[in-house]
């Protein structure tokens, strides 16, 4: 009798932990949005919300790839450089038509991601150092194809490619829909496919995964290739939106991407995480950034401080809750 009335304490604590990790970011997002809505009259305007979603969509595309990488227990520091490189390649390629403008950045950034993955999976080198090196390499490549950064390629305003970045449905930009579709796809792949299972297994317990016959190396190669390709896509979309291949963007963007993934509840130690959490993390960071911009007296530098503090709180909470 007593055994039935007192459920075991450990699973309940574990469940509570899970809920906090899963929903913490969502609760924070709801609170921040509610407060912003009440305090800043301009926040809730349709224009502002559309702009917010558009700004978030570029980061979301990158963060989806980063989520996969982090769940395998890795990290990809090259995405900021690949984002900039993707934009420049798209702008340069736009003179040869829509297809080249879109395919070139995806292929080049995908190949760099593939090389990251091969180096990490086949040679047992630390992901952060391999991807730091490709951060440097991709910037170098970007400088090489832009006359050392002096040349900003323009995209003809009448080209179909610009439409990809600036076109809208009901006032919402295409990039928002692309990011949404990718997020849904990412969620399905992660939770409903064998590949997704392998991603979790690789990050959860790599040694056991190897022994169980999980294709750990192949999984790692795939996630880094994905991450590189998505960073290239985000760059291409940004270039289409800006109508040019801006060379100086994306510095430190990898940190934003990692921050939103972690804030969304994905463990940096690997083995656990959700795409939905990442999307919520993007929303949270972008809303806070938007609010900081509306408080005229605060400059944009506060945004990275806030990101850092959020990251810290989440990481410490995760650690404490897991005890």
């Amino acid at each position: 009798m007593t055994t039935t009335t007192t459920p075991p304490a450990v699973p309940r604590a574990a469940a509570r932990t899970k809920v906090l990790q899963r929903q913490g970011a969502a609760v924070a997002l709801v609170l921040v949005v509610a407060v912003s809505w009440l305090v800043f009259p301009r926040f809730g305007s349709p224009d502002n919300l559309r702009d917010l979603a558009l700004q978030g969509s570029f980061l979301a595309v990158i963060a989806i790839g980063m989520t996969f990488v982090i769940i395998t227990g890795g990290i990809d520091l090259s995405v900021g450089s690949l984002y900039a490189l993707g934009g420049v390649l798209a702008a340069w390629g736009s003179q040869y038509g829509f297809l080249v403008a879109l395919a070139l950045p995806l292929v080049v950034c995908g190949v760099i991601g593939l090389i990251n993955g091969l180096l990490i999976a086949r040679t047992n080198m630390a992901p952060f150092i391999v991807t730091l090196a490709s951060l440097l390499f991709a910037r170098g490549l970007l400088l090489a194809i832009t006359d050392e950064g002096a040349n900003t390629y323009q995209i003809p305003a009448d080209s179909a490619f610009v439409e990809l970045g600036r076109g809208t449905v009901f006032g919402f930009g295409y990039p928002i829909f692309i990011a949404a579709v990718l997020a849904v796809l990412g969620g399905v792949v992660l939770n409903r496919t064998g590949f997704g299972q392998n991603v979790f297994a690789t990050g959860g317990a790599e040694q056991s995964a190897v022994l169980l016959g999980v294709p750990v190396a192949k999984t790692k190669v795939l996630v880094y290739t994905m991450s590189g390709t998505l960073a290239g896509l985000a760059g291409a979309l940004t270039a289409a939106y800006l109508q040019s291949g801006v060379t100086v963007i994306g510095v430190g963007l990898e940190l934003d991407a990692i921050a939103v993934v972690v804030i969304g509840g994905t463990l940096l130690t690997g083995g656990m995480g959700t795409i939905l959490g990442t999307v919520i993390g993007v929303g949270l960071i972008k809303v806070i950034q938007n609010v900081i911009n509306q408080i005229g007296t605060l400059d944009s530098n506060y945004q990275s401080v806030v990101s850092g503090v959020f990251l810290l709180i989440v990481v410490v909470l995760q650690r404490i809750l897991r005890r």
Binding site: M125, A126, L132, N301, S304, G308, L312, V315
Partner: protein
């Protein structure tokens, strides 16, 4: 008989190959520096001049100071990604207190470095967060904080005494080089001749065993990160003085990559348990020589960055621990 001989021969061949790799891991950096010096002496105009050597050393000094701390952290099986951000913080602090005299300004900058480092150490030792994650928060937020402190501005500095640090010399040796040299000796002494040094290496070799053996693991870890923080701050102070301006936006950007590269190239494994101070010094000199060689032979920045990326990968590949 023949079978046994073949087996013995295979074993000898294998152990020769292993010994060669080990030798390359240990001494590769010295050979590489020698080769580059020889190459430059033969093929680079105006290389063998006192002025050139002084310039090279002055440029390498801040990197070396940061790399010394990084070597200690890596020796504990950790890593500190926040060193560049701490340099930026130190740079931002300087103009705030320069009115109270250079000594006050430097003291405050170093105090911030100690605090930042101790904070990292606290997260790693007491909270139990992975080093790469713990220091990531400060990497994300630290530079933003520095920019907030500095109001996002570059501040020209005019204090004669403070600027002397960057321009002055003692017996022809620039002050920053002298500081770096002395610090290298101190760090070498601490690592090889003190209890703290031995405890540090023991923790890096096997943290669990070190804990069970009753070593003050937490205290040593916090100490190591605090040392790394203060060394990064010193580098920030010296670089700021040489620049004659406080520039938190650019100060120490990607310094974590340069420092980690130098340490790894110098033969300290990322897996901890070993600190090679002389190797680190030569690792810094090697990377500086590579950069100087590329610049002196008029290779553009883009190519230089890509070659550096390749060197980093090659060095980590040689230095990696085999499974």
């Amino acid at each position: 008989m023949t079978q046994a001989t073949t087996r013995a021969a295979t074993r000898t061949a294998a152990s020769t190959a292993a010994a060669r790799t080990r030798w390359l891991q240990d001494n590769g950096v010295y050979v590489a520096v020698g080769v580059l010096l020889l190459f430059n002496a033969l093929f680079t105009a105006n290389f063998l001049t006192l002025g050139n050597f002084t310039t090279q050393l002055v440029q390498a000094a801040p990197v070396l100071i940061v790399a010394l701390g990084m070597a200690l952290v890596i020796g504990t099986e950790g890593v500190d990604l926040s060193v560049g951000a701490v340099m930026a913080l130190a740079a931002a602090i300087i103009p705030l207190y320069l009115g109270a005299g250079p000594l006050m300004a430097i003291t405050m900058a170093l105090a911030v470095g100690v605090l930042a480092g101790a904070f990292n150490g606290f997260l790693v030792a007491k909270v139990g967060i992975q080093p790469i994650v713990a220091t990531l928060a400060l990497l994300v937020g630290g530079r933003g904080l520095a920019l907030v402190i500095a109001d996002g501005q570059l501040v020209q500095l005019h204090d004669e005494t403070f600027l002397e640090l960057g321009t002055g010399d003692v017996l022809g040796i620039p002050i920053s080089v002298l500081v770096a040299g002395v610090l290298a000796l101190v760090v070498a002494g601490v690592t090889n001749r003190t209890t703290f040094g031995r405890q540090l290496v023991a923790i890096g070799g096997n943290r669990k065993a070190a804990t069970l053996a009753g070593l003050p693991v937490d205290r040593v870890l916090i100490g190591v990160y605090a040392i790394t923080g203060v060394l990064a701050a010193i580098a920030g102070v010296l670089a700021t003085s040489r620049l004659a301006a406080s520039d938190p936006a650019d100060m120490g950007l990607l310094m974590e990559l340069s420092a980690i590269t130098a340490v790894v190239v110098g033969g300290t494994p990322l897996t901890g348990g070993k600190v090679r101070v002389l190797g680190t010094v030569f690792g810094v000199i090697l990377m500086q020589l590579v950069r100087a060689t590329l610049i002196k032979h008029n290779l553009p920045d883009s190519i230089a960055q890509m070659i550096q990326a390749a060197i980093i990968i090659a060095a980590v590949y040689v230095a990696r621990e085999r499974k």
